[in-house]
């Protein structure tokens, strides 16, 4: 029988940067060009209608205002300037951030000034809230990825873990008539997929990517099958999960913009933000974290020093399933009831967030927020009858990730032992 070929991850090495054209300068040229293009193009397309960014849920209240054409040109020029500044070959991340924000604002000035009369405003509270809510499942999913992959197990099964969590949460939550029981069941549902991933990749050495893909299909089939057999026949008995309400946090909710957007929210958002903090601290400040990272980078060395490599991997993969399962519950225990394939690719965006965030919890959070913003922008542009098709905004996370791994936006490197099974001996 053919043994499927074995190759290591980075057999093709990117050419070493030498001479004047460093990565920073190349990106700088790209950014400067984009900035100039934005200034010209968006400036020409924008109308002189005043653009307002209101600090509330609607058109009311204080607002930051600017003339549409002026804004489009101004922010485009700022982006171009940031690109030009990159020739100093310093402050790469900051300049890139300023440049990207400039491009987005220039684009928004055009879009908002071009909107139908009376809609020439963007409610910031609304946008921030939407961004965070849409990012919640991505944050959970990406954190699940961090836990797995930092210990050297590739987790392509995030989609399946989220789906199983959503399903188990809805089913058990309905049967027990308790959202909390549903939440626990959701965690166990995600852990079930993780358990399969762990057993087959760690014990039976099945390729981790293959297993992840197959588990996604298994979760899709299993939940779809049980949905049609149980939930569709008796919706009230099996699929009317109780929902967590919204919780307001005193004091913090008084902060302008962020307060009403973030701290009049739900359990899942708070949990996601806390988890980012906890996992960040645990990963970089505790003994467990050090061991996890060492197992993910060089398992043989870790083993030599007495770390139980396989045990640690089992534990982390299961933990990842629990986290993703809770993320899945944010679908069914908050707003909706379960439907077939309700995750719809969000698990893969979470994977993209993990990679885009360079396998770190805080990076994953920022990437998830960026993708959540792209999502929310699609909703907003749809509401103001934009000419930009929402499908192209939906592509944004995926395209951004491709650019990132191609080394155009920043150096992206996975944990060294990620995806390689460890055989003791």
């Amino acid at each position: 029988m053919t043994r499927v070929s074995t190759i290591t991850a980075d057999t093709v090495v990117a050419p070493v940067e030498t001479g004047f054209w460093t990565r920073s300068r190349k990106v700088g040229v790209g950014l400067a060009t984009a900035g100039v293009l934005a200034a010209v193009l968006f400036g020409a397309l924008a109308t002189s209608q005043t653009v307002r960014f209101t600090l509330s849920d609607d058109a009311q209240g204080t607002a930051l205002s600017i003339d549409g054409t002026v804004g489009a040109i101004l922010f485009g020029v700022i982006a171009a300037a940031a690109g030009a500044a990159m020739f100093a070959d310093r402050w790469f991340t900051w300049l890139l951030g300023v440049g990207l924000v400039g491009l987005v604002l220039s684009f928004l000035c055009w879009q908002i000034s071009d909107a139908p009369a009376g809609l020439n405003f963007m409610p910031l509270v609304n946008v921030v809230r939407g961004t965070f809510l849409l990012a919640v499942p991505l944050i959970f999913g990406a954190l699940a990825g961090v836990l797995c992959e930092r210990s050297g197990v590739v987790n392509v099964a995030i989609e399946g873990q989220l789906l199983m969590g959503a399903f188990a949460g809805a089913l058990v939550g309905t049967l027990a008539a308790s959202a909390w029981v549903g939440l626990i069941a959701a965690a166990l549902g995600g852990a079930f997929i993780s358990l399969l991933l762990a057993i087959f990749t760690i014990r039976y050495l099945v390729d981790q990517v293959v297993m992840g893909i197959v588990l996604n299909l298994l979760a899709l089939g299993l939940t779809g099958f049980l949905y049609e057999r149980l939930m569709q026949t008796d919706q009230t008995k099996y699929n009317q999960p109780p929902h967590f309400g919204s919780w307001e946090i005193p004091v913090l909710k008084e902060i302008p913009v962020l307060g009403p957007a973030l701290f009049k929210s739900n359990l899942f958002l708070y949990l996601a933000l806390i988890l980012v903090l906890v996992i960040h601290v645990a990963l970089f400040r505790t003994r467990w974290g050090l061991r996890t990272r060492s197992v993910g980078e060089h398992p043989t060395a870790a083993d030599t020093l007495g770390v139980r490599v396989l045990g640690l991997r089992y534990r982390n993969v299961l933990l990842a399933g629990v986290v993703a399962g809770i993320g899945g519950a944010s679908y069914t225990l908050l707003l909706y009831s379960f439907t077939k394939n309700m995750i719809g690719g969000k698990g893969f965006i979470a994977l993209a967030a993990l990679i885009f965030g360079r396998w770190s919890p805080t990076g994953a959070l920022l990437a998830a927020l960026f993708f959540g913003f792209a999502d929310q922008l699609g909703v907003y542009l749809g509401a103001i009858n934009s000419v930009i098709p929402s499908q192209f905004l939906a592509m944004l996370p995926y395209l951004a990730t491709i650019l990132a791994v191609a080394g155009l936006v920043g150096r992206v490197r996975a944990p060294a032992a990620d995806g390689k099974p460890y055989i003791k001996g």
Partner: protein, 418 residues
């Protein structure tokens, strides 16, 4: 277990027979595959029972009258699997009606026709994934490549007026080119920047999906008589002709699929490119030292792989499954192609057989759904389970206590990180 025992022939010489049985019980490919299917069907049966509320009610008085519960379970499962068989291979009732003279021949061949129809695109996507595998690349993007393929094939199919045979050929070529472009991108990025093809193909799948949902609703593409997301139908001149008359859905695509299998087998085993491809797949460093251009090979592999997947996609709109673009027009053929490639042990003819099995499950699943009202999703579960067991032969061996011989060569596991 009985399945494999039945296959043992009449034993003339005891020693030969023993040797045969011994060999059969060893963990060879065929044995493991059959046992994996058996295991999957057993788990599927359990799922059917636990999801049937009527049967479950009978279990509530299991201790009082166990036969009730067991009988009900047996009926539910056996009926479901009987329909799976009738829908995919042959329906005995139709055969006896035909022989008795009060039936037509069409129902007799319908199950086989359905099986072949569903198998056709899977052969293409399975070959796409298998070919890339052999070249050391994991092409998860067959789904996206099939989507771009289906879009281009359909656009040619209803926007470009051409004479009959040429129209079909151009539509097929358009599908292949679409897939090839979508395969080129990750191949190029892998070769030039080292960007991992698994990540990029996953991302491109979704880019392709959103492109599809966008293009369907554009003016000139969307069906003007409809408000939902569906394109104009493909001209009949661009459609693959049906092989057994209009009542049976099997079409020329299956012949093309067999030809493609032969072609890929030739490419892999007989051509220079195939040799280089396998060499790069086995050891890129050694290949580079030997003077093979690894980067060129990666790009070539992904382009050919993409073209195959694109052809599979084209089949979905110029075959007999659909004749217009919808958001779900390619179903899951790309992801199923990964399973098919693994089940076929990444060998071309193995892939064709695996596609046949998956096609049969899908065709039978339709009958199972319509007659026994058991959700088609069960088929997805069965397919995933079969591949899980195939991928972990050690587990199947442990369950059935198979002899360990040749087990090492069965391993489909490959170490591939990001």
């Amino acid at each position: 277990m009985s399945l494999t025992e039945e296959k043992a022939p009449e034993q003339k010489k005891e020693s030969f027979g023993q040797a045969f049985l011994h060999g059969l019980w060893a963990a060879n490919t065929v044995t493991v595959t059959i046992l994996a299917v058996v295991l999957a069907l057993v788990i599927g049966g359990i799922l059917i029972i636990v999801s049937d509320t009527e049967v479950l009610d009978k279990y509530s008085y299991f201790t009082a009258r166990p036969q009730d519960a067991l009988e009900a379970s047996w009926t539910a499962v056996s009926e479901a699997y009987a329909n799976l068989f009738k829908g995919s291979i042959v329906d005995p009732a139709a055969v006896s009606a035909w022989i008795g003279g009060n039936g037509d021949w069409v129902p007799v061949f319908r199950p086989i026709s359905e099986t072949l129809t569903y198998a056709t695109p899977l052969v293409f996507t399975g070959l796409a994934v298998a070919l890339a595998f052999r070249g050391g690349l994991f092409n998860i993007g067959a789904q996206g490549q099939a989507i771009i393929g289906v879009v281009l094939a359909a656009l040619v199919g209803f926007l470009v007026p051409l004479p009959p045979v040429i129209h079909l050929i151009v539509a097929l070529l358009a599908g292949a080119v679409g897939g090839a472009i979508w395969g080129f991108v990750p191949g190029f990025l892998k070769a030039r920047t080292g960007a991992h093809e698994v990540i990029n193909t996953i991302m491109l799948n979704y880019v392709a999906l959103y492109f599809l949902t966008w293009i369907i609703v554009q003016k000139g593409v969307q069906n003007p008589t409809r408000t939902d997301a569906i394109s104009k139908p493909v001209d009949s001149s661009a459609q693959l002709p049906r092989l057994l008359g209009d009542d049976l859905r099997v079409h020329l695509g299956i012949v093309l699929a067999v030809a493609a299998t032969w072609g890929v087998a030739w490419l892999l085993n007989r051509s220079t490119l195939g040799f280089e491809l396998r060499a790069v797949g086995n050891n890129p460093d050694a290949s580079r030292t030997a003077g093979i251009s690894v980067t060129t090979t990666y790009i070539a592999v992904m382009v050919i792989s993409g073209a195959l997947a694109g052809l599979g996609g084209a089949n979905m709109v110029i075959g007999s499954t659909a004749n217009a673009l919808t958001p779900l027009v390619v179903a899951q053929i790309g992801f199923d192609g990964i399973l098919v490639a693994l089940l076929g042990r990444v060998k071309p003819w193995g892939v064709a057989l695996a596609a046949l099995l998956f096609g049969a499950l899908r065709a039978g699943g339709n009958t199972m759904q319509s007659v026994s009202s058991i959700s088609l999703e069960l088929v997805t579960v069965l397919q995933a389970l079969i591949v899980i067991f195939i991928a972990a032969p050690a587990l199947v061996k442990a369950i059935f206590r198979l002899r360990a011989a040749r087990a090492a060569r069965l391993s489909t596991s490959l170490a591939k990180g990001w």
